[in-house]
Structure formats: C-alpha cells, structure tokens
Amino acid sequence: MIIPRLALRNLLGAGLRTWLNVIVLSFSFVLIIWLQGLYKGMGDQARVAQTDAEFGGGQYWQENYDPFDPLALQDAHSSVPESLQTLIENKQAAAILISQATIYPEGRLHTILMKGIDPAQSVVTLPTQFLDQEGEELPALIGTRMARNTGLKVGDTVTVRWRDSQGTFDARDAKIVQIMKTSVPSVDLAQMWVPLDKMQSLTRMKNEASLVILAQGTEEFPQVSGWIHKDMKFLLKDIDYLVKTKSVGGSIIYTILLCLAMLAIFNTQVLSIFRRRKEMGTLMAMGMTRSKIIQLFTLEGAMHSVLAALVAAIYGIPLLAWSAKTGWAMPEAADDYGIAGIGEALIPVYGTGLVVGTVVLVLLVTTIVSFLPTRKIAKLKPTDALRGKMT
C-alpha cells in the first residue's frame, strides 16, 4: 500500500504544524495514562490496605449488625456459632465485638466504638499483639487519627463508659498501649481496640461477637444461621464506587485536553483540504481516485496520533516509570479526607490494557475527526480542484 507512505511523507513535509499537533496530542496520551494509572493505583492500594486491615477474606455479620446504624449496635451481638468458632480456633477467622462507648480525654466527651479483638489473631494486620497485657487497666489500641483527634498518647489513661448486655452503664480506665499508623480510617477514626475476652466479660457478652472476619484466601462460606456472609465484592463496593467517582472527575481534565488536540487536528484538516485543492486536482489528473484521496487525507490526520504515541513514548515512558517508582507523595491533610488506604504516597499502576486502550481510543477519535472534513472531497470535481475552487 502506497497510501500510508504518502500520508507519512505529506505529514512530515508539513513540518512545524504537524509537530505542534503531535505534541499537544502526546500530552493527552501521557496525561490520560498517568491519571488513569493514578486512579488504578489508588483503587488497588485502597483495596489491598482495607482488605488487609479490615475485610480479610470476607466477613460474617451478626444478623442485626449494620455499620451505618449505631442504634442497632446494641442488639448486634450474639454467641459465635460453632462452625465459625472452629475457624477462629484454627486462626482462620477473628471475632470482633463492637459496642458503642464514650471516652472522656481531657474532660471532653467523645462517642466512639469499642472493638474487641483477640490479641493473638493474625487474620488482619492490626498490631493487636500490643493488647496482650496483664493488669487491672484495659489495654487499648488506637490509630493516629484517633490519637490526634483526642490528644491521647501512649501511656495515657482514659475513662471508657459503655452499656453492658443488660443496658446498664459501666466504666473502666483504659490505658493506651500503642498508637498504630494505618492508612485505613475505618479502623482508626473514633474507635478503640481492646482485648476481646476482657471486653466480653466487661460487657457480659461472654463468647459473643458482632462480626467474624475470615482469613484472606478463605474459599468456603457455609450458611450460618443468624449470621450473614458478606463477600469481598460487597465489602469493597464503597471503594470501587469512590474510585469510579474520582476517575470521572479526572477524565474531565483529559477529555478537555483531548478535545483541544482534536480541535487542532480538525482545524489542520479543514485548512489543509481547503488549501490543497490544486494538489487534489493534480492527484486526480494523475489517476488517483477520490476514495484514495480521501483515504490519504484521513490517514494523514490519523497519523498525528501515531506520531503522538511515538513522541509520548519518548518522554512518557521514563516519566511514567519514574512516577510509578516514586509515587505521588500525599499531603498530610489528605490523611483525613482522602481515600482509605492511601499511605504516604500514591503509586500509579499502568496496565497493558490501560495503555493499549488509550492508544486505540485516541487513534479512533483522531481518525474520525480526520475523516469528517474529507467528505468534502467526495463532491470535488477534478476541474474545479485544478482551478483551486471548492464547491
């Protein structure tokens, strides 16, 4: 086929104009891939972090448990069924007992969740081993956000008050044994982790739990009466939704950039078809058919994106590789308001599908934009073209 060769020659022959379009288009390439990679990385990181710290390999919820209804928490506990108890004893699951509580650090009231967890558990990555302490005081583990919000430090003692299973208020002093650094706010904000057995006896909920976290990799999820299995898809749907929403915001940026590049190419095409009528007439006189000429001009436009992909590869690959290595440092403030699971740096993830998909998308859009103005050629008479006239 000679058309691609001719198109490339014409394109390179056009010089500066071509390269300006190519550079703008290459920005779109790099930005699309970078932003998409960032969102992909964000999603992946959040998913992994939250799975490690909270979701494990799925959960069983006591049938009344609803994380969005604090009032129901009062009744969201019952004896751990035997089948789950076996898993817990085999370290393939961890029971969590949740109760509403209030603490009074520096005399100010904070409503929190008190969560009981086995200090020896290994199902989630929380540093629960610090809770393995003897003594009168209740050992408590909190996260950095909680520590910041309450002013609590390691070694501090704080009064905790809760209602037991009969609804009677009870209170103890809890001692902060560790402040854990975690990127997952949902195990941190307004909560206090305490040893499960102590909590069970203090609340008179012997052997009871609100939910059971399964170890990652668990494959069998038998029916347990009174308990509802929540799979990973359910547990992760908030993250998936959040990532999706955020990436829509990001796609607006590159849609604008892509539109600009497309406008530049459309403009170039319109101008070149207007200016090169005589050339088209000459091509027709030499025996080129109109459809070949349309192909030629369309390909010339479309090749902008091929060149742009090459140019983008030249500066984009090192740039993207560098950003994938160093990540994007998150500002301190992002800790509280950002997405769960993003630690100090957001590491973009570029999949083959993402790169190939972006290239194909841009190629397709450029081809369409390049083709549209060429339809004028289909009606062009050779004699008019040779006289430099366009009808």
Partner: protein, 240 residues
C-alpha cells in the same frame, strides 16, 4: 469506427450554466487525433481550449456529444475507470506546474509509477530515464521550492512522460516561462514526441508554442474555426 485514431470527439457541446444565462464553452466540436501528433488548440482566452482538453482527459464531461479515447467512450466510464485511463495512458502538464511541494524531484516523477504499482527497481530506472530526457538527473533530491520555473516545468514533463503514456495534454505549459525556457521545454517535448510517438495536444495562445506545432486547431467561441497541418513547423529552425 476508425481505429487508427487515438482520440475522437463527436459533436461535443459543453454548456456552463451561469445563473440566469449560460455559457456555451464548446459548440459541436468534431475532431480526431492520431498517434504521434503534435497538435495545438489555439485561440483567444475563453474560446474553450481548456474545456476541450479537460473533456479529452476525462476530467470533465460534456453536456452533449461523446469522446472516444483509445477505443473507450469517456462518458461511459466510471470514476474509477476514468482514473485508470488517466493513470495508464494520459499525462497532464499544467500552466502552474502543479508539483507536489513536500516531495523531491525524484518523488514527484515517481508518483504516477507508484499509482501504477511498479516495483522499486522499475521505478528507479524509469524515473532516471525521464529525468535524463529533461536534463534534470542531477536534481533528484531537490524540492520544488528550490527549482526555477523552467526546471519545475521540466520536472512536470518528466512526471507526465515517465509512464510513457499514449497522450500528453498540456494546458498553457509556457504561460509562466520566459522565452528561453519555453523553447527548451518545447524542444524536449518535441524530442519525446519523436522518440516515443506520444501524442501531444496543447492548449495555448503563445506564439512560441504555435511555431512548433505540426497541427494547429483554431477555436473561436467554442467552435473549430480552422484546422491546419504543417509539415515543416518553423519553431525548430528558429532556435537551432
């Protein structure tokens, strides 16, 4: 039909509608051209020379009448067949040279051969041969912008002749050239006409061109007013 004729026009009429009125550019033109003719359509501006050349070259279609080129009725050809006819058998030379600006001299001349699908080796040989005819073999790498008018037109001649077509149609080929260059390109075309037996049809009102013609067809208001044959044109004698 007489097969010894390469081109035959039969009662050609071309009318251009112009708003309320219309212009009769060709008015019942009957002409025949044989192999190896060196003929010119001569006449004042607006007499229909270009229109006739375009119809013969299948770039335009007549309002009435018919044209036969190499045994094919032009008006029956599809777009694609018309393009094929031009590609294989007709070379065009324009007043404004119409070289492709981003291509080198070599690439410009090579272009028709690319369309014909010739192999690189064949293309190389034919392009160099054509450029030798027009004495530009040393300018293969130049771009059109670096050429003078005379050189540009010689490249255009090489481009028209490279595929060794049966017919070359030249519309005012000297209008943008000075006397010396005009004579130079006419002598080149005469040489090609002699060696390859290519039929040349000019549209011109340039005396320098007319001197070289062996057949002079005078058009006035779209009609053939005179059709004269010269056995011994004066042009050659004058320059040598």
């Amino acid at each position: 039909m007489d097969n010894s004729y390469l081109i035959k026009t039969d009662e050609l009429v071309k009318i251009f509608p112009m708003g309320e009125t219309s212009i009769i550019a060709l008015n019942h033109v009957n002409l025949m051209f044989k192999k190896a003719e060196f003929a010119g359509l001569v006449g004042p501006s607006g007499s229909g020379k270009t229109t006739l050349l375009n119809i013969i070259g299948s770039l335009d279609s007549p309002t009435e009448g018919s044209t036969t080129v190499m045994g094919q009725k032009i008006e029956d050809l599809s777009h694609k067949q018309g393009a094929e006819l031009r590609n294989q058998h007709i070379g065009f030379i324009f007043q404004t040279f119409n070289l492709l600006p981003v291509y080198t001299v070599f690439e410009n001349v090579e272009f028709p051969l690319l369309l014909l699908g010739l192999s690189p080796q064949e293309r190389q040989d034919k392009v160099m041969k054509a450029l030798e005819w027009v004495q530009l073999a040393d300018r293969v790498k130049s771009k059109p912008a670096q050429l003078s008018g005379g050189e540009s037109q010689r490249v255009a001649i090489a481009r028209a002749v490279v595929k060794e077509p049966k017919i070359i149609l030249a519309d005012e080929p000297t209008a943008n050239l000075d006397a010396e260059n005009s004579h130079n390109i006419l002598q080149t075309m005469e040489k090609i006409n002699n060696e390859l037996e290519t039929t040349f049809i000019f549209a011109t009102h340039d005396e320098k061109v007319i001197q070289y013609l062996r057949r002079k067809i005078t058009l006035i208001d779209g009609k053939v007013a005179k059709d004269e044959v010269y056995d011994n044109p004066t042009g050659r004698g004058e320059e040598q």
